[in-house]
Amino acid sequence: MTAALGKDLIGLERLSPDQIRLILDTAEPFKEVSERVIKKVPALRGKTIVNLFFESSTRTRISFEFAEKRLSADTVNVAATGSAVQKGETLVDTAKNLEAMRIDMVVIRHASSGAAQFLGDRIRSNVVNAGDGKHEHPTQALLDLLTIRDKLGRIEGVKVCLVGDILHSRVARSNIWGLTKLGAQVAVCGPHSLMPRGIADLGVTVLRRVEEAIEWADVLNVLRLQLERMEAGFIPSLREYYRVFGVTVERLAKAPRALTVMHPGPMNRGVEIDSRVADGPHSVILDQVTNGVAVRMAVLYLLAGGRPELADAAKGPAAGGTD
């Protein structure tokens, strides 16, 4: 347990600006590890980490797994399919069983908001939230912050607009907390049927049309539009969504200043984002993915009690894989 972040990383709502900056700063030296020929450092040697994914995920799970392995932790992946969860084991029983195996950390992804908090309150191990329902996805927001800082050199004063399904988005919530805490100006834009109640009270501006967002913002963070939202009647069709809210080359051409486009993935090309934008010069989408590994290494390192000022030294010499 460390005083730097507390026992768990549940969300950015409860982190201070200094704690968020600490994670971003700690991620910097870890970026280089992934550029090495032998991508492994001994910082978490002997630590055991369980990746507990109750909801399917490719990108986030692999990103965490690489972060863990590059820090030399021993990792186990548990997916909901085929596990005891499907046989009716409750979350609390899963938690107690993990505890009994004396693991050091749990990375949890769960469809229920609050699941990470629930687990963190009941086990001694460190808990990292890899996305809980519609609540938070803190490491995604941290990698978004790092990417903005890399690209624009700062976060304070930058105008960031989150575009899309804000109502169901944990990425949006974590981004709003992180960005506002670090002094960015934040706006949200999307159909009002996908806008949560009271969102403006979180200190964000609500923009009605995507054209306004493009005119206003330095950064657009375009959220995934799930097919289920159409089926549940929140929007009439994906086609109309693209016509009204799609981030297209034509719309971006009207931007009054250089605009950076982000997307947390996985993308629906031709729904929320034009392929030519995703693959074009505005896009930093793959930088986000690269930064994801470094940010997750920083979070795991800090939660495991690693001292931030030693993060660089903790990398040690490029180690041969001996575990």
């Binding site: 409750t90 908001s113 609050g114 629930f118 329902g133 519609k134 919530r173 949560p196 109640r197 009271g198």
Partner: protein, 433 residues
């Protein structure tokens, strides 16, 4: 019959007669024999010193879930009736969302018989509005009333069909029973787990908007007017519902309503950190709603307090917020919460609170009790409103412990509860035991 009992030296508050004075209460043959200062004890009478307590008609709760039949691990009629008298309630009305549903005369008769075996509080069954609470076919109100049902309700389920609600209100007129509705527009509330507001937005939980309740309150009031039926609205939670009720009463409509102690005292903020003991339906709302509900109760726009006692096994609540069931227990905290929040909080006087927790609910559901009038059944409570106590869920008589008030310091609890003149709860004696 037991020996006469003289409750001596208490402050007698009987809202049914606007009585609030130092007086003794004499009980004979299970009935109130006399109320007045300086009563003498008849031969063979037991004299009980109740100085320092408030002697009032036993509290009446028109909305509890006793889980029998079907979920006896969570509550039984016996444990629920025991919890009731510990909370100062001498009569409770049991909602029909049992398993199987209490939707026929045999099921109603079962509850009556179990209640007679259990003793403690009087338990009055409420029959279902629709067969299986499925919202399609009217249940047999007449036979259920014949077996002892005092009202009908599909509580736990909204009555989605306006036609069914209309028919229920009309058909219930024959038997002169209230139709108690859980007001919730199901297509608006679907999937919701707490109040739709800022806290739900932060927690990423699906909200239930105030309008989901208010649409049905408005609909029911219109149907009440159309049919002339006795409409009773369960557990109102929003300021908008209060306004609809106010207008209905101003127009002289025959509609009554209840509010729970938790909706009078807690807000959506109680759900922070995903506390499943703050998950109930209707959900806890905003501070402005709490203020409006308090004022409505004081003015009589809302008629009475009801606990919506909803026991759940501890491990069901030990889950992610989305997965936990709705509801909290309330019988053993209702008076303490109401006294602490409303009387000490300055919203109501003690006689007003007793009016809303005893006299009026008895009247709304047409139950005996709610009065200390000589000749009335001796359903009496002596309330200690001086000593503070801390809510310790482990000491509940209820089988369940799901309360958001655990650890709270409250003032006001039942020191002595009598049903038909028999002592069924005696707090000092229980403490010694």
């Amino acid at each position: 019959m037991a020996a006469p009992l003289l409750l001596k030296g208490g402050r007698v508050v009987d809202p049914s007669r606007d009585l609030d004075e130092a007086a003794d209460v004499l009980i004979q043959d299970g009935r109130i024999a006399a109320v007045g200062p300086g009563l003498g004890a008849p031969d063979g009478a037991t004299v009980r010193d109740v100085r320092g307590t408030v002697v009032a008609p036993g509290l009446v709760d028109v909305h509890v879930h006793l889980r029998e039949p079907g979920n006896e691990d969570e509550e039984t009629i016996a444990t629920g009736a025991r919890a009731a008298v510990a909370g100062g309630f001498t009569a409770v009305c049991a909602m029909p969302n049992t398993d199987p549903v209490t939707d026929n005369q045999a099921a109603v008769g079962f509850i009556v018989r179990q209640s007679l075996r259990a003793g403690f509080a009087r338990v009055y069954p409420i029959g279902a509005i629709s067969v299986g609470q499925r919202g399609q076919q009217l249940a047999e109100f007449g036979e259920m009333v014949g077996a002892g049902a005092v009202a009908v309700s599909d509580d736990g389920q909204p009555v989605a069909s306006s036609h069914l609600m209309r028919t229920a209100l009309e058909y219930a007129r024959t038997f002169d029973i209230p139709v108690a509705d859980h007001c919730e527009e199901p297509s608006l509330s679907a999937g919701g787990v707490m109040h739709e507001g800022l806290v739900a937005t932060k927690l990423g939980l699906k909200g239930i908007p105030a309008a989901a309740e208010e649409i049905m309150v408005a609909r029911d009031i219109l149907l009440g007017e159309l049919t002339g039926g006795r409409l009773h609205l369960c557990h109102l939670s929003t300021r908008g519902s209060v306004e609809l009720m106010r207008r209905a009463k101003e127009r002289g409509l025959r509609v009554t309503a209840e509010v729970t102690p938790h909706h009078l005292s807690l807000t959506e903020a109680a759900c922070e950190r995903y506390d499943t003991h703050a998950k109930m339906n209707p959900p806890l709302r905003e501070a402005a709603d709490v203020a409006a509900l308090r004022q409505a109760l004081q003015e009589g726009v809302i008629d009475c307090v009801a606990s919506d006692h909803a026991p759940h096994a501890y491990d069901e609540k030990e889950a992610a917020f989305d997965d936990a069931p709705f509801g909290i227990v309330g019988l053993e905290t209702a008076f303490g919460v109401a006294y602490t929040e409303l009387v000490q909080g300055g919203a109501l006087t003690l006689p007003q609170l007793i009016l809303r927790m005893s006299t009026v609910p008895a009247r709304v559901f047409g139950l005996p009790g709610g009065t200390l009038q000589p000749g009335a059944p001796a359903d009496v409570v002596a309330l200690d409103v001086t000593a503070g106590w801390c809510v310790d869920a482990a000491r509940f008589h209820s089988k369940s412990r799901n309360t958001p008030f655990a650890g709270r310091s409250l003032t006001g609890r039942a020191a002595l509860t009598l049903v038909a003149g028999e002592i069924v709860h005696d707090a000092p004696a229980a403490a010694q035991a």
